[in-house]
Amino acid sequence: MTLAERLAAYLTRTSGEPIAVENLARISGGASRETYRFDAVTGGARQGRILRRDPPGSLIETDRRLEFLAIRSFAGKGVAAPEALVLEEEGAELERPFFIMGRVEGGAAASPFDPDPYGVHADAIGERFFGILGTIAAQPLDGLPILEAAARPAPEDCWRRELDYWSGVIEADEQHPQPIVRAAIRRLKRDPPPPSARVAVIHGDYRSGNFLHDGAGAILAVLDWEMAHLGDPLEDLAWAMDPLWSPPGGGRISGMVTRDEALTIWGRASGMAIDPAALAWWSLFASVKAQAIWTSSAKAWRDGGFTEPILALSGW
């Protein structure tokens, strides 16, 4: 059976009514999961859907559940979270775990290689981008679905938990010694930030390229919640502002707004004051985390038989 036929069999069995799958096509992006778009057709009605399926040999089972619950946590909360519909952790007809989301039509993600990704709408996108991130930081945790799967750290433990996790990834996956990132990790341990002013949902990969925009200044969907967790909101802010995502020489964060404007927008939406020293700590941490992701990508590329070139590009 083809993947489309197996997916149709799953949807038909679990919904109790015949559902056909049409126009199934893999889409780029999301190196840690296979992502497909498809139409679910039943009784003459056609609904756009996105399938996120674990790759072969995936070991990150908790991440899948966390991603689904994080998206569901923000349904209707004004942060352009997609609609989380189905979580299948056993794999069933698709043989590997997956989840299904509603498809957001009419948007595009910015290319990281585009020197002016938002054009005349850069200010509007920046206002919305950092406003959404501040809104995520402001969301009270009580009652959120993500609490079913995410550990809630004490404010003084947020930095240590993240640093331990990502330095552990480097330790486990490193093929060649990297003295620079080792020095950065030691520096972060020597000079930790103050306790988090608030423990909140962290998107984990909130940046340019991980949202859909309409080309006219509106953000339609915030994507790639697979590294979501609970922690210090400055972690997300520092990651979003990392120079890695910004076109060179433009002076605008990710080609959107200036650094000062970004901090003002985020501060207004989150209701939080920004400690410059703490933000500096999380900025250096963002570089360590990026290096860990690339190191992990290189390992996944080798372990997967060198067949996914996006992992090679990330890991090189």
């Binding site: 290319s111 290689f113 093929q175 010694p177 003295p179 020095a183 590329w301 590009l313 890991g315």
Partner: protein, 147 residues
């Protein structure tokens, strides 16, 4: 940085030889081809500069260790002196990378020792070395995708 050029080229062969299922055509296949093209462009840079960068880094590390061996004694001092006296006579990618891995592990140990001793002069020297090392190993992304 960590995949070697031979690994990258083997990966190009593997990716191009692997048939894609029907649902992975269209935009996905085009995007995948774009990444393979970008990897080929980066591989050209690495082919031009990679050996020179490794030879420079290994020689510079040996010189740094020979100098540090004069002030750092004990077990670390012995390792520094031995590494500082090393020579490179095999310029294959695998030999250069193998030697570089050993030298980098020793650099990590030396930097940790410098930090523990609050040896600010050596700390600054190593930080400057990191900047040069990153520059020599740089890969410049070509502007061939997107706008």
């Amino acid at each position: 940085m960590t995949p070697s050029l031979p690994d990258i080229l083997i990966g190009q062969c593997a990716a191009l030889a692997m048939p894609l299922p029907p649902e992975a055509g269209g935009d996905y296949a085009a995007g995948r081809l774009g990444i393979l093209i970008m990897l080929a462009a980066l591989a050209a840079q690495e082919a031009e500069r990679g050996v020179a960068a490794r030879v420079w880094e290994n020689q510079a590390l040996r010189a740094l260790f020979a100098k540090a061996a004069q002030t750092y004694d004990g077990e670390l001092g012995g390792r520094l002196a031995a590494a500082g006296a090393g020579v490179a006579d095999d310029l294959s990618w695998s030999a250069l990378d193998g030697a570089n891995a050993d030298l980098r592990r020793l650099l990590i140990a030396l930097h940790e020792a410098a930090e523990d001793r609050r040896d600010q002069a050596l700390d600054r020297e190593i930080l400057a070395f990191y900047r040069r090392m990153a520059h020599e190993r740089r890969l410049e992304l070509p502007t061939m995708m997107g706008g």
